[in-house]
Amino acid sequence: MKSLSIAATGMLAQQLNVEVISNNIANMNTTGFKRQRAEFQDLLYQNIRRIGSSSSDAGTVVPSGVQVGSGVRAGSVYRIIEQGNLISTGNMYDVAIQGRGFLRVQLPSGEDAYTRAGSLALSADGQIVTSEGYIVAPGISIPADATEVSINKQGEVQAKQPGQVTPSTVGQLELSSFFNEAGLDAQGDNLFLETPASGAAQNGSPGSNGYGTILQGFVETANVNPVAEITALISAQRAYEMNSKVISASDEMLSATVNLRR
């Protein structure tokens, strides 16, 4: 019975759907997290009576043939790049990106990674680093005696030192943007890597055309909407159950056939 395997693909698809939803819910409070969505596609169709095949010598054609599908598969699980809310933390090294772009981070391996989680901090030698201690590009050192650090919208980092009236600029944060942000490879730890699908990173300064601006003292929350996720979870669970009902119904039909000859 083909309906058994069709329902099985449906159950597998809904299982994946629940996995994606649960990951969204689990990351509801993850800084800079972008929610994901599973997109499904129908599988190939079996043409039992081909549409458009001739039904007589007179040239009449079958207007709608018999096409039986073979189930469903996951088309893609894509990330929805929607701005999250900004939440005030009061921490002077926290930055939120309003608009497009990622902070570039130097991994210990020397590779570049990209993040929107702007909970930054200072390292022992005064450099601006992520919460894992990775240096934020292009590498900004804050003088040890700085009393106040301000980061403006354009990403300019200014430090005020004792005895100075005007703060001095100590560095400039950079943002990287991608043609296809959904094509970035998520690494966990809020980090993303460039892929052939995402395109090469375009570096620019915050506030310039095509880049977002920086907001100091804020972080970007996850863009997960709990109500939407729970609704999606209910629908996924019910869809899973319905597919299991198809399996039991097909099973009953089969057993009716098997029991024909007692």
Partner: protein, 245 residues
């Protein structure tokens, strides 16, 4: 006597087909822009072997087509700027290596060169069947109700939406795509209603499908019962005939 078995067999075969279609509908309850289908059955009349005008014809059942429910599915907000839903009928055109295909699934993506594609990487075409390309370093697009794509206030191309004279002749090709024969020519749709940030949900109605599933299951059992009864009759006939000698 065999006719009982054969008619029941034709019934069982069509019920199995119907079950497969229901299973496929239910498997696709969360597939974007999926259209549910239903099989069509008809009588197939066959004269009996012993002939004679008095003898009634035997009718079998056979499936001769599937109808697609073309009602528009619910709009599902995703918030993704590259997701578009069609608020009325029509299809987006995509370019595959084997030719053009059509889809209502508006889960579009950008490639690393700025081309608009489906999630399988097929190029999405504009109103004059050309690929849609975004300039380097551009912001996410605004897609107007009529499909006009603009980036940062600059109007680019218009998303192509096409209609067909006979939508029933469109074949489902899997991957949420539809294909057509050469005879069917796509006509640019007028009065397009495009909704950005949403996708069209599947139009499968689970309650309906489950009800139909139960119905099919019971009918299948009845048809089996019919074969069993016929079998009993044959067995009894053999039994009794062999006793009278």
């Amino acid at each position: 006597m065999e006719n009982t078995f054969l008619i029941s067999l034709s019934h069982l075969t069509s019920l199995r087909r119907e079950m497969e279609i229901i299973a496929n509908n239910l498997a696709n309850t969360n597939t974007d822009a999926f259209k549910s289908e239903e099989p069509l059955f008809r009588e197939m009349i066959s004269p009996t072997a012993d002939g004679g005008s008095a003898a009634p014809d035997v009718t079998f059942t056979t499936d001769y087509g599937t109808v697609r429910d073309m009602r528009i599915g619910d709009l599902l907000r995703t918030g993704n700027r590259l997701d578009v839903a069609l608020g009325n009928d029509g299809y987006f055109a995509v370019q595959r290596d084997t030719g053009k295909a059509f889809t209502r699934d508006g889960n579009f993506k950008l490639t690393n060169t700025g081309e608009l594609t489906t999630s399988d990487g097929y190029k999405v075409l504009d109103s004059v069947m050309q690929p849609i390309i975004f300039p380097q370093g551009s912001e996410l697009p605004e897609i107007a109700k009529d499909g006009t794509i603009s980036v940062g206030g600059v109007t680019l191309q218009r998303l192509g939406v096409f209609k067909f004279e006979n939508p029933a002749a469109m074949k489902k090709g899997g991957d949420n795509l539809y294909t057509t024969d050469e005879q069917e020519t796509p006509v640019p749709s007028s009065g397009v209603k495009i909704i950005q940030g949403s996708v069209e949900a599947s139009n499968v109605q689970p309650v309906l499908e489950i009800t139909r599933m139960i119905d099919v299951m019971r009918k299948y059992q009845t048809a089996n019962q019919m074969i069993e009864t016929g079998d009993d009759m044959v067995r009894k006939a053999i039994d009794q005939l062999s006793r009278i000698r």
